[in-house]
């Protein structure tokens, strides 16, 4: 089976490298971008199954990226996990309303992050089941 591809968007190249190593070790393919503009361009080219997105980005911050993704028919269904150093109290709800599937504050627990990635990927792939009685 093909390994699902994850797009990591963060302006800290060291963190991008670390996440790439961890995701590869967990059997994912990885694409990367370090600003808002190239995030959209890379998403269109690479068609990732999931996106990990920082909020504080140059050339279009995370909220701009979320907005563009939501308004792009080909990308609107791709689950986005926000991974940001920003305060959840003022950003989590906003990110979820903008279409993110989950919000993690940095530094995030790796096991929790991997778990949510798997669940989000599962949900995006499944067909709606009949209502269980």
């Amino acid at each position: 089976m093909r390994r699902p591809k994850i797009l990591v968007v963060d302006d800290d190249p060291d963190l991008v490298r670390a996440l790439r190593l961890r995701l590869r070790a967990n059997n994912f393919e990885v694409a990367t971008a370090t600003d808002g503009y190239s995030a959209i361009a890379t998403a269109q080219k690479e068609r990732p199954a999931l996106i990990i997105l920082d909020l504080g980005l140059p050339v279009g911050d995370g909220f701009v990226v979320l907005d563009r993704l939501q308004n792009n028919d080909a990308l609107a269904g791709v689950p986005v996990i926000v991974l940001s150093a920003r305060d959840p109290q003022s950003n989590e709800e906003r990110a979820l309303k903008a279409g993110a599937a989950a919000f993690f504050q940095k530094p995030a627990d790796n096991d929790e992050l991997m778990n949510v990635i798997r669940v989000s990927l599962g949900a995006a792939n499944e067909q709606p089941a009949p209502w269980p009685s």
Partner: protein
């Protein structure tokens, strides 16, 4: 040079004194406009309609006497300077007034126009200075809070990087590590986690200080939180060989509290207790009711540590306080934990305190408000001063298909709650506030003033409406159950509030039974999946 006119509000009921003061004011060098009233109420009205430059205030008026008089004026207009006109007999009182913020006091017996003019001018100047000082302090606090919030954000970025690379090494992703190397890396990780906790506390304390800390109170069964807190700290206690015990009143009422925040307080207090308890000692977490205060639940954490001296006891909840005799001085943290606990409890309108004797251990206690179902139920279960004939409890359970739930589970169940809210009759049904998640199942309860037979219409409508929520069936299972509320029959003699209370008690017992069943099955499914 043109001088601005000083507007004086003179509040004085003795016509002779009032005339004298007015005369002295007019005699002075600078232009004044005097408005004289004889009652405090008229004075306050005048303060509202036409703010004066200064208030000259007699303390004993027909509608207010003594300290009460200046207290009310200052409460009404904190930015207007007040000068007290005192008689011979109340100089002590006038002095007290100056201590509480009144600008000056003058004895009516020897009032010269020069004195009066000078007192007024200085009072106005001092008040203006105080005001600008206050504004500057406020700006400084705001700046400090913004700075701290920015710093804590910036610190997270490099910390995240360290955390990622250390865990890459520890998890063997970058290649095998020797047991010694793994041990060293674990020490690094422990420090990273400590640093992370400090940054979190810094931000949290900043929030508390600037009034931006928020709580989301719900109806909470404290027992579950106690179990969670103990489970989370069991490993730390075991590592140090400290016993961890729970003492719970079996029938504790539900409390009105933010479960995440209360858990945070319990964990913080227990973590401290374990830290300050020597090996082979014990920590006890208790939740109970106190006869004298039936509207609160008391939660206390006791340890068998070295106790806290009276000096530390007075300061321990203050920001940045650190016990100078702390055992583990190099790792004592920022001294913000207890301050944050106090702020969280304060937002719950509870109290927190410590009792301790040096050498005898310490007990930290906090209170949380009891959730009063009877108060919520009263308007819907009564009609024309009597209890409605029958009630049912409708239980709606949403159980996610996966753990953790897919997507934004909170948004999903909140959307469902909104749908359910639209299906109830406001005057005879009550949708109870969310009960807090048990395992992952979200449960809503409705107390409906109807009988079992007629309740079917409502539950059918709820099911139909919920099934229209987009994608809900891919996220969770839906169960709706209806049970009659069996109220013990009461004679005519029993008063209505007590009958409402008995309905509330009955509903509470049924809710608790549901929670226990859900906990059992959540525990079972956890064991099955292990």
């Amino acid at each position: 040079m043109t001088q601005t006119t000083t507007k004086v509000l003179l509040i004085e009921d003795n016509p002779g004194d009032a005339d004298l003061v007015r005369l002295r004011l007019v005699e002075g060098q600078s232009p004044v406009k005097v408005n004289c009233v004889s009652r405090l109420s008229d004075g306050l009205a005048s303060l509202t309609s036409d703010t004066p430059s200064v208030v000259l205030l007699d303390l004993n008026l027909p509608d207010s006497r003594g300290a009460e008089t200046f207290r009310r004026v200052m409460e009404h207009s904190p930015n207007v300077p007040v000068v007290i006109l005192s008689g011979q007999d109340d100089e002590a009182l006038a002095m007290r007034a100056v201590h509480s913020g009144v600008q000056d006091y003058l004895a009516k017996s020897n009032l010269s126009s020069k004195h009066l003019e000078r007192a007024i001018r200085y009072a106005v100047e001092r008040q203006a200075l105080l005001r600008s000082l206050e504004i500057a302090q406020k700006q400084q606090l705001e700046f400090k809070n913004q700075f701290l919030s920015h710093v804590s954000h910036e610190l997270r970025t490099p910390l995240t990087c360290i955390h990622q690379y250390v865990t890459l090494l520890l998890d063997g992703i970058s290649g095998p590590v020797t047991p010694d190397q793994a041990d060293h890396l674990k020490t690094v990780l422990k420090s990273v986690n400590q640093l992370h906790a400090m940054i979190r506390d810094l931000l949290e304390a900043t929030r508390a200080e600037s009034g931006k800390m928020r709580i989301e109170p719900r109806c909470v069964a404290l027992g579950e939180l106690v179990q969670q807190a103990v489970a989370m700290l069991r490993p730390t206690a075991n590592e140090k060989n400290v016993g961890l015990e729970i003492g719970m009143d079996q029938r504790l009422p539900l409390v009105h509290a933010d479960p995440d925040r209360v858990l945070e307080v319990m964990i913080n207090l227990m973590d401290n207790a374990i830290k300050f308890t020597p090996p082979d000692g014990g920590v006890m977490l208790q939740a109970s009711m106190v006869d004298a205060d039936p509207s609160s639940v008391y939660v206390s954490i006791s340890d068998t540590g070295r106790g806290i001296g009276p000096e530390a006891k007075a300061l321990i909840f203050e920001r940045l306080y650190q016990d100078p005799e702390s055992v583990d001085n190099n790792r004592s943290g920022l001294g913000l934990g207890l301050f944050i606990c106090r702020e969280i409890i304060r937002l719950h309108e509870g109290r927190i305190w410590v009792s301790s004797e040096p050498g005898q251990g310490s007990t930290f206690t906090f209170t949380l408000p009891v959730y009063s179902l009877a108060k919520l139920l009263a308007p819907v279960v009564t009609y024309q001063d009597s209890l409605r004939p029958s009630f049912v409890l409708v239980r709606i359970e949403l159980t996610p298909l996966t753990n953790p739930p897919r997507g934004n589970w909170k948004e999903t169940w909140q959307q469902c709650l909104e749908v359910v809210r639209r299906c109830v009759y406001l005057d005879k049904d009550l949708l109870l506030p969310p009960m807090g998640t048990s395992g992952t199942t979200e449960t809503f309860f409705i107390v409906a003033s109807t009988d079992l037979q007629s309740s079917g219409i409502m539950t059918t409508r709820i099911r139909e409406q919920l099934e229209r929520v987009p994608d809900l069936k891919t996220k969770c299972t839906l169960t709706i159950t209806t049970v009659p509320v069996e109220i013990p029959s009461a004679g005519e003699a029993v008063a209505l509030p007590e009958r409402v209370q008995s309905v509330a008690d009955c509903v509470t017992r049924m809710i608790m039974a549901t929670r226990e069943r859900q906990q059992l099955s959540a525990g079972k499914s956890r064991r099955d999946s292990n």
